[in-house]
């Protein structure tokens, strides 16, 4: 059974169609790139998967279930913004995650935080933007979730931080789970992708294995992306 499935999924905001009749199926054990230009529907799709939006038509399934309390305990989500309460310290946030998610791995969190050399009592509001993003990622990846949705995890950070983030993702996700990374910075992530989904105007224009694209098109995913989405 697919860990993530969309059936005739449509999402409209008033008259604007953000997701247009998408059919999609993703299996566990792979890192999937959800690629597309701004406004292509990547964030909307991820929000729908997390139950933050309700579909206008069709359905979205996580491990065979519609988004709800049960699926939320299986999904680890990193939004594209600062979403953590900034008055809380790192230690308090780790405890918060542990209180609500039974799959929180405190050892994993401790190891990752150790590498950052951040005092555990330090409040989020006193951290730089890059450090905050790393903390958010660490908390997300510390869970032994069945599926990870990472929305623009490398946008807005310097190349060194990007490297750290990608290394953290690769070395910490559960091998039998799926990781879905939404980004438009293809060149930075393409080396880690197993599968690629191209979204344009709310529609899936390509869903293929990364290796197959490189062999068939004789070009990198970044090169193909630039060709497909040329203005």
């Amino acid at each position: 059974m697919s860990i993530f499935e969309c059936r005739n999924l449509t999402k409209c905001y008033n008259n604007l169609v953000a997701i247009n009749n998408i059919d999609l199926s993703i299996e566990s054990g792979q890192i999937v790139g959800l690629l597309g230009p701004n406004g292509s529907g990547k964030t909307t799709l991820i929000k729908l998967a997390n139950g933050l939006l309700k579909p206008t038509e069709g359905e979205i399934l996580i491990d065979g279930h519609k988004p709800g309390i049960m699926t939320k305990s299986k999904v680890a989500y990193l939004p594209d913004r600062d979403f953590l309460p900034d008055y809380m310290s790192v230690q308090q946030l780790v405890r918060f995650y542990g209180d609500f998610y039974s799959d929180m791995d405190f050892n994993k969190a401790g190891e990752m935080l150790k590498s950052l050399n951040i005092p555990h009592g330090m409040r989020l509001k006193k951290m730089s933007k890059g450090t905050k993003e790393k903390i958010q990622l660490i908390l997300t990846m510390s869970r032994n979730a069945q599926i990870y949705f990472l929305d623009e995890p490398i946008a807005g950070v310097d190349p060194a931080a990007r490297e750290y983030i990608l290394k953290t993702i690769i070395s910490n996700y559960c091998p039998d789970s799926a990781v879905i990374i939404s980004t438009h910075l293809i060149a930075d992530v393409e080396a880690v992708l197993d599968d690629v989904i191209f979204l344009m105007n709310g529609e899936v224009v390509m869903h293929s294995q990364a290796e197959a694209i490189r062999e068939k098109e004789s070009k990198s995913i970044d090169g193909l992306f630039r060709e497909v989405f040329r203005c």
């Binding site: 139950g51 933050l52 939006l53 309390i69 979403f83 008055y87 209180d99 609500f100 998610y101």
Partner: protein, 266 residues
């Protein structure tokens, strides 16, 4: 999960509210002490203390109200909503958590205001006089209606007070939730919804009063006002509590439906 939500909500609110109330109480005690102990103020002490009390209570009430609104907006409908609504917790529990905590905040404010009045009377007439008066009042009540009935009435009064606070908070949250359905001018939408709900609430109250005048409900209400009998008073209080909880349930349901079906975090 509700218990865990409450734990974090009380912590978030307490870190702001406890220092505010603490500063208020300490400054009020010092102010009263200086006013009543110094002969320079003479008869103006009482009036000045009352004005200071009114100013401080207004300030603290505004802070509490702003905090109640801000917690809902920021924690559920702002960026933090991305964290809260992806926790394995139902939307209903989130709203219930906010209503409970908001009501507790107002109740806590009422307790602080009551303590302030106690400080005022105590500083003016002596704390021994105050404690004796409270003790005498309670003793007389126990003598007349019995300890159990006094305890039941105190408990019912507390529950009723919490219920009334919950009406205020749940109405504010329902209005914010309705305002959230707008894509633009959400605050304006919330204000409009609050006014609309207040009008409906007022009409319902009028209808209820009319209904009460022609039926058995009136007898029970009379019991609460003129103390026709302890049992009748207790029943009347119980009925009032139920009646107060009905709008809370309605406002909770409105917030739940909107946030569950129409949530759209920006």
């Amino acid at each position: 999960m509700l218990g865990k939500l409450l734990k974090y909500e009380f912590r978030a609110v307490g870190r702001i509210l406890l220092p505010v109330y603490g500063v208020y109480l300490v400054s009020y005690i010092i102010f009263n002490y200086v006013m009543f102990e110094s002969d320079a103020f003479g008869g103006a002490a009482k009036a000045t203390s009352t004005v200071f009390f009114a100013m401080m209570v207004t300030t603290v009430s505004v802070v509490t109200l702003v905090l109640i609104i801000q917690r809902f907006y920021k924690n559920l409908l702002g960026d933090e909503g991305y964290l809260m609504f992806t926790l394995p917790v139902s939307t209903g529990a989130h709203i219930f958590n906010k209503i409970l905590c908001g009501s507790a905040m107002i109740c806590f404010g009422l307790v602080v205001a009551t303590i302030s009045i106690g400080i005022f009377i105590g500083t003016d007439s002596g704390f021994i006089y105050l404690f004796n008066a409270i003790g005498d009042g309670l003793g007389k009540a126990v003598e007349e209606i019995g300890l159990l009935h006094v305890l039941v009435l105190i408990l019912e009064t507390i529950v009723l007070a919490v219920g009334l606070c919950a009406v205020i908070v749940s109405k504010i949250y329902a209005a914010i939730a309705i305002g959230h359905m707008w894509t633009k001018h959400r605050v304006l939408g919330a204000v409009g919804a609050y006014i609309g709900m207040s009008i409906v609430e007022s009409i319902c109250m009028d209808l209820l009063v009319e209904l009460g005048e022609v039926s058995w409900i009136n007898d029970i209400f009379k019991g609460t006002t003129v103390c026709q009998g302890t049992a009748q008073t207790e029943t009347g209080m119980l009925l009032l509590i139920i009646m107060v909880l009905i709008p809370v349930a309605i406002y909770w349901f409105i917030s739940y439906k909107v946030l569950d079906k129409r949530l759209n975090l920006q």
